[in-house]
Symmetry: D3
Subunit: 67 residues, 6 copies
């Protein structure tokens, strides 16, 4: 029954598989709950929809690129 949400950048298929497998193994080992009970949601969040330190992430990444 445990559930994990990841909010972050889009991952390609192989990285999605890796993250789901790794999170599930870790969480199953630490809780003692069987792997089959775990659900992981990968919730993509683009830089135009995230703020960090009061700034749009998109703006922050651009200003970093310019330097």
């Amino acid at each position: 029954m445990p559930t994990i949400f990841f909010y972050g950048p889009r991952l390609d298929k192989d990285k999605s598989r890796d993250m789901i497998q790794s999170f599930t193994e870790t969480a199953s080992r630490l809780t003692g709950i069987e792997r089959s009970a775990f659900v992981v949601y990968l919730r993509e969040s683009g830089p135009e929809n995230v703020g960090v330190g009061g700034e749009l992430l998109e703006d922050r990444l651009k200003s970093r690129d310019r330097k």
Copy 2:
């Protein structure tokens, strides 16, 4: 003021209506709070972004189809 989030497959318009109406009625009846106070969010989650039992749901559905 209560809020309900549904994370699952995309629903067509009629099923979306049905789910919203049914969740709201149930929750209003059980809490005693008027229906107008309820908000329901349908958050679509495709099989390429969900893991079940440590596996990408997309992979799991494909391997089931092959059998």
Copy 3:
């Protein structure tokens, strides 16, 4: 795999059972996914931690009681 979150007042045991059963039945019927795949989280949210219309819910309920 679908997951439902309910943010609202504390429910007693019988109402919790009823909400979980009813949400799961509705969602299973509308998605065609078997009941066993559904997880429902009841996340209690007291009036001292919720704001409605810009006001603390606790304040709003008190001022309503006074009338």
Copy 4:
């Protein structure tokens, strides 16, 4: 470390910036935690995926427009 999620309509870039800046300033001032520690997620939620008072928001907006 605090995190804020906004579920609502899509905002244009300037309004996204304004919301992120304003939420972060308010939350930093009230918690005493430095601005750099805050993350804000703007999670768009269209009227075809939200229910209000038991009705699909899309339907509600249409019926209001007709009046």
Copy 5:
């Protein structure tokens, strides 16, 4: 209908009021949606249940205090 979640430290009553009022005003101004439609959830998250940079926040705060 928009909904805001704040995950962070416990706030006293006056700060809770201030945060709810300020978030709601900002969000109402930027979306053009009336204040009465907004719900804000303050979800307390103690340092024993948060990780920052791979470390339990509680550990990080202690080690900072020692310095």
Copy 6:
């Protein structure tokens, strides 16, 4: 900036540390984002507040114990 939420049973301090460290390392490796940018929330969810397969988890665990 990425954020991870874990909804599941209460963990003791050492397991909380382990989960936070492991999730952060995995996610940092797969996204290429530095560890310091990650926040993990451990959101405890007791068996009296979770439903699995339409049943209160508390009831399900009890009936399993009786067998």
